[in-house]
Amino acid sequence: EAGVVQSPRYKIIEKKQPVAFWCNPISGHNTLYWYRQNLGQGPELLIRYENEEAVDDSQLPKDRFSAERLKGVDSTLKIQPAELGDSAVYLCASSFDGDSYNEQFFGPGTRLTVL
């Protein structure tokens, strides 16, 4: 079974530039999560999707961050414009809704460096 796929793995941009991250969850997993992991910290949830609906985006900085999951499968997370403080690893995870505790499976992440 293929795991969660993310691309790119690394991205270096200048501040004020836009950037986008892509995630393909595990087949059959209807719930998708985007997390941000700062250096030396645990992951923090940015947004959660159930199918194509964003059901928890309370931690997403909506002035510069946006996300979409148009067909309920792949998802894209965008930052525009990026700031120095956005440097972090952006993790995508997915889970199957039928699991009562929704075990989350993580992708390898995209390491973003904003210069």
């Binding site: 719930t31 645990g42 992951p43 993790l91 505790y101 929704n102 075990e103 992708g107 390898p108």
Partner: protein, 112 residues
């Protein structure tokens, strides 16, 4: 109240020794406590998880001990191996919330 406090921040253990990582929480609604292992350049991977209806869960060399009254849980790695060198995160979640609250992580180094 949503925080999960994890200690120590880093840990060095000799090969064959026991590694112990502790976590504490405040929110009594939490009822699922997974531990994730993360190697450099990789995403976190589920190692072992426990629900509060048991006080201990063991899978191979990995054991979770859970103290509901103290709101604490810990990961014990027996016979630690150099391949166990990684960062370990505890987390907590409440049924139906889908939300994991992660600890700050413990960087474990096992010396050969």
């Amino acid at each position: 109240q949503q925080q999960v406090k994890q200690s120590p921040q880093s840990l060095i253990v000799q090969k064959g020794g026991i590694s112990i990582i502790n976590c504490a929480y405040e929110n009594t609604a939490f009822d699922y406590f997974p531990w994730y292992q993360q190697f450099p350049g990789k995403g976190p991977a589920l190692l072992i998880a426990i629900r509060p209806d048991v006080s201990e869960k063991k899978e191979g060399r990995f054991t979770i001990s859970f103290n509901k009254s103290a709101k604490q849980f810990s990961l014990h790695i027996m016979d630690s191996q150099p391949g166990d060198s990684a960062t370990y995160f505890c987390a907590a979640s409440a049924l139906g919330t889908y939300k994991y609250i992660f600890g700050t992580g413990t960087r474990l180094k096992v010396l050969a």
